[in-house]
Structures are given as structure tokens and as C-alpha cells.
Amino acid sequence: MNDTVSASVPPVARKNWMSVLARAPASAIEDGLTRHAPLPAWTVVRGPETGLVMVRGRAGGSGSPFNLGEMTVTRCTVRLESGAAGHAYIAGRDERRAELAAVADALLQDPAQRASLQEALIVPLAEMQRAERQDRAEKAAATRVDFFAMRTMRS
């Protein structure tokens, strides 16, 4: 199922939008897509289907790998009328979310649409996710311990 269209897309850019889409709710993906243009026609090539990913850790943090436990993941592959294929693998069991993310992935591979779709869909979602992380980081920072040495009071 290797697709030829994606060959022209820098993997870093594609990895970035896929990671943003993986954390976005279905409604937010749909809103972003329709803000850009009416939803295109697509055919589902595979899925959406829910399965498992075995999550691995490393002994001691950086030693040999071990199987920590599984997580649910939903995947979907779609093809647009242009022939572009889009893929999505997303944590959880939301099939609509995986399908919309695959559609977005297919559209984003089209150089003619990429910039405006990044602007309408990916940039706002990434900003939302950044703000959520920032919020938690700020609360964590407020619980940071400031040690001060106890001085013995002798005069």
C-alpha cells in the first residue's frame, strides 16, 4: 500500500501534521477541513478499524526493550479522486476521527493545497495542543520545590 504521491512530501512535515491530527477531536478536524474547502469525495481503502499497539519501554529507561502493555489504536486509509492516499493511526477507538485524519493527510500531500490547509487546520490545532501542554507545564512549575539552606541563628 505504499503510495507514490507522498514521495514528494518531506517526511518531517508529514510526521508533524500526523502527530497533530492524532491528538485532535473528530469535530475539530472536520471544522478545520470545511474551513479550508467543502469536504472532498473519498473512498475508504482500509478500515476504519480498531486494533492494538503493544507499547514498549526500556529496562532502566534506556536499556533493553520490554513490552509494557497494549493500547487501542484506530487506523484508516482513504483515497481521494486525485489518487492521493491518506493514512491515519490514532490512539483510541474513534473511527470517525481516524477517517477524517486520513482524509486530511491525503489533502495535505497536495502541494497546491498544503499551505492553506496547514493554515486552516493544522496551525490552529497545534496551537490548541500547545496551549494545553503549556497549561499543565505551568501548574507543574508552580509545584517545583525551592530548597533554601537553614541557617543556624548564632550571634
Binding site: 492524532a22 503493544m54 529507561g61 493500547m71 493514512h87
Partner: protein, 359 residues
């Protein structure tokens, strides 16, 4: 073991399950419990069901907890059963806990560590007094905020390891064993032991870890580091040919640091035990690290004398789904077994009585 098929209980079973459903729902005038409420407000229960169910999906775990009326072993059992219905798509790259977005990170051995000591949303330092305000529908004030420190937060062993006084991780990239595919076999490698501990029963691991502190295979532990937060999960789908990020998991990691006198092959240095579990579950991560270290006794040339050092004992009894299955199966009809036992005891008794009469 012989079980005899018993017919005739169908109606009783049906009615029992109908009553169970009614009991589960409780008084219909009390609002039904939503899965979002369980996820949001009973997060530690969700974490425990996911950890022991060995399936990360907070929404499913909330459903399992609701269905099990809060019985967390039953909830973990439901999750284990559900996972058998799903295909395995891939395994992830190993999660990188050094890049965790830590909500909590503390060290008991290193006060001024780079990245700082972050308490996070902890019960530590609370007075364990019941808070009767929680009985009312009250909204707490917003948590205070501060500017985050953007500097990296290296793992404590990575900081202390530089001097060579702390045992290194010694990575290989061997394919790890998988208990969901292959039955447990001995000797069990550390990969399989860590998987078994990560899905093991929190109470069992807590007791085993505690026993090492009380002298049953003592290994003088220090909590080198405990951290909790989100890590990203990456997989490499074959159709893409590069790694993609599929979402976040909350995990808790514990680096236990232990005294070690050295052996014929190793100089005196600190050794380590490791804990990594789904969700925010510090007690389990710490217990896991203690037991992981205890089970390394043979590898480190220590005498294996205590239960926690006995790999077979720990691994055969750490799984609460297996344990509950075997303990609770005693409820099932054993009528025939017991009949034969009864006849046995009667015969023995008659023999004793005959002998006594003869004397």
C-alpha cells in the same frame, strides 16, 4: 480435576444476572454514573484497571469499572477479555521517558537535580483527614501557575551514571518476549519479568516490595527518581516507511537505586531496579522497581533466599486475573470430587475404628 456438567441452573442464573443489573444501577432516582465522570473523577481507579488489564484506553477502563461496580480486578479482567477481540497492528518504539512531559518528578537522593523537584498533583504531605467539603458539590479554586523551566529533565541514573558508580543500563535491541503471545517459561529474562510486573497486581507487588524492605532479601533501596507524565507513542507502519506519533500515554516511572557490595565480576557500585506502569500509579511503580531488583539477585551473585527474589514464585503469583480465576473456580461444582473424598475419609475412619476395636 473432574467437573461434572450440571443442568438446571439456567433460570436461576438468568434471574441472578437480572438482579445484578438492577443492583448495579441502584436507586433509579439517583443519576446514572457517566463514563466521563469515572474518567475524570476516579482517575486512579481507571489507571489501575488499565495497568492490570494491560490495555491503555481510559474510556474502556471507565466502562469496565462501571460494569464491575468498582471491582477493579473484575474491571481488569473485562479489559483483558476485550483485548482478545482485537488484532495487533504493531508494536511501538520504546517510549522515551527522558522526554516525558513530567507533571511530577522527585528524587530522594539528589536534592538539586537538573530540571528540579516537581511535586505535581500528589497526596504526599496531605494530612489524610477526611474532607467533608467534598461531600458537597464544591468547585476548588484554580491551581496556581508559574513559568516552566525549559531546561531538559534528564533521568537521575543518566546524571549519576557518569561517575561509573551506578550500574549502566546495558542496552541490547533483542526482540523482547511477549506474555500475550507465549506462555511464561523459566528462566524468564528481565524483559518478560518487567512485562509481568507492569501488568501484575498492585497489592501483591506492594507486599513483595515491602517484604524486601523488612529484610526478606533486603537490598537497601533509595528512590532515585519517581516521575509521572505524558510520553508520546510512535509506531512505524510498514505502508509509510517512517515513524509516526499516534498519541500520548500517561505513565509513572521509578528508578530505585540499591547498595551493592560488588561481585567477582563487578566492582562495588549501586545497582538498580526499574518500574514503569500505565497511568499515575506511584505505589505500583515503586513496588515494581523493588521487586525487579530483588529478582536480579541471581544475576548479581546474591543468595536467593527470600520470596521476592524467587522469580518463579513472583511471576506465577503476580497476575491477579490468573489468581482470581484459580481461587474463584473453587466455587464451581466439585460434587463428584467431593463425593470421592467423602468416601475416602469414611473408609479411613472405618479402618481406624476397626484397629482401635481390635487393640
Amino acid at each position: 480435576m473432574a467437573y461434572v456438567a450440571v443442568k438446571g441452573g439456567e433460570r436461576a442464573i438468568r434471574n441472578a444476572h437480572a438482579w445484578l443489573a438492577e443492583e448495579r444501577r441502584g436507586d433509579p432516582s439517583v443519576p446514572d454514573l457517566g463514563l466521563d465522570q469515572i474518567r475524570q473523577q476516579l482517575g486512579r481507579a481507571v489507571d489501575r484497571a488499565m495497568g492490570e488489564g494491560s490495555l491503555y484506553d481510559p474510556e474502556l477502563a471507565a466502562l469496565a469499572i462501571k460494569q464491575a461496580q468498582g471491582d477493579l480486578i473484575e474491571a481488569a479482567f473485562l479489559l483483558r477479555a476485550f483485548r482478545t477481540t482485537l488484532p495487533r497492528f504493531a508494536h511501538s518504539r520504546a517510549v522515551d521517558t527522558a522526554r516525558m512531559r513530567a507533571a511530577r518528578r522527585i528524587s530522594a537522593i539528589f536534592k538539586d537535580l537538573p530540571g528540579g523537584q516537581i511535586l505535581g498533583p500528589t497526596y504526599d504531605y496531605t494530612h489524610r483527614l477526611l474532607d467533608f467539603e467534598l461531600a458537597e458539590d464544591t468547585l476548588p479554586p484554580d491551581a496556581p501557575r508559574a513559568a516552566p523551566d525549559p531546561s531538559p529533565m534528564p533521568r537521575v541514573p543518566d546524571i549519576l551514571g557518569r561517575e561509573g558508580l551506578l550500574e549502566p543500563d546495558g542496552a541490547t535491541d533483542a526482540e523482547p518476549g511477549d506474555l500475550t503471545r507465549d506462555p511464561l517459561r523459566f528462566p524468564a529474562g528481565r524483559d518478560v519479568r518487567l512485562q509481568a510486573l507492569a501488568r501484575g497486581d498492585e497489592g501483591f507487588l506492594l507486599a513483595m516490595g515491602y517484604s524486601t524492605q523488612r529484610g526478606y532479601g533486603g537490598s537497601h533501596p533509595f528512590a532515585g527518581e519517581v516521575r509521572m507524565g505524558e510520553v508520546s507513542v510512535e509506531i512505524e507502519p510498514p505502508e509509510l516507511g517512517f515513524a509516526i506519533d499516534i498519541g500520548d500515554l500517561t505513565v509513572t516511572e521509578c528508578q530505585m537505586v540499591n547498595q551493592f557490595k560488588g561481585s567477582k565480576t563487578q566492582p562495588p557500585q549501586f545497582t538498580r531496579g526499574y518500574g514503569l506502569v500505565f497511568g499515575f500509579s506511584e505505589r505500583k511503580a515503586m513496588s515494581m522497581a523493588l521487586v525487579d531488583r530483588a529478582m536480579r539477585a541471581e544475576e548479581l551473585g546474591e543468595d536467593v533466599t527470600a520470596p521476592a527474589q524467587n522469580v518463579e514464585f513472583v511471576l506465577y503469583h503476580s497476575d491477579n486475573i490468573e489468581a482470581t480465576g484459580f481461587v474463584e473456580h473453587l466455587k464451581l461444582p466439585h460434587y463428584v470430587d467431593f463425593q470421592s473424598e467423602l468416601q475416602n475419609v469414611r473408609r479411613l475412619r472405618e479402618a481406624v475404628e476397626r484397629r482401635e476395636a481390635a487393640e
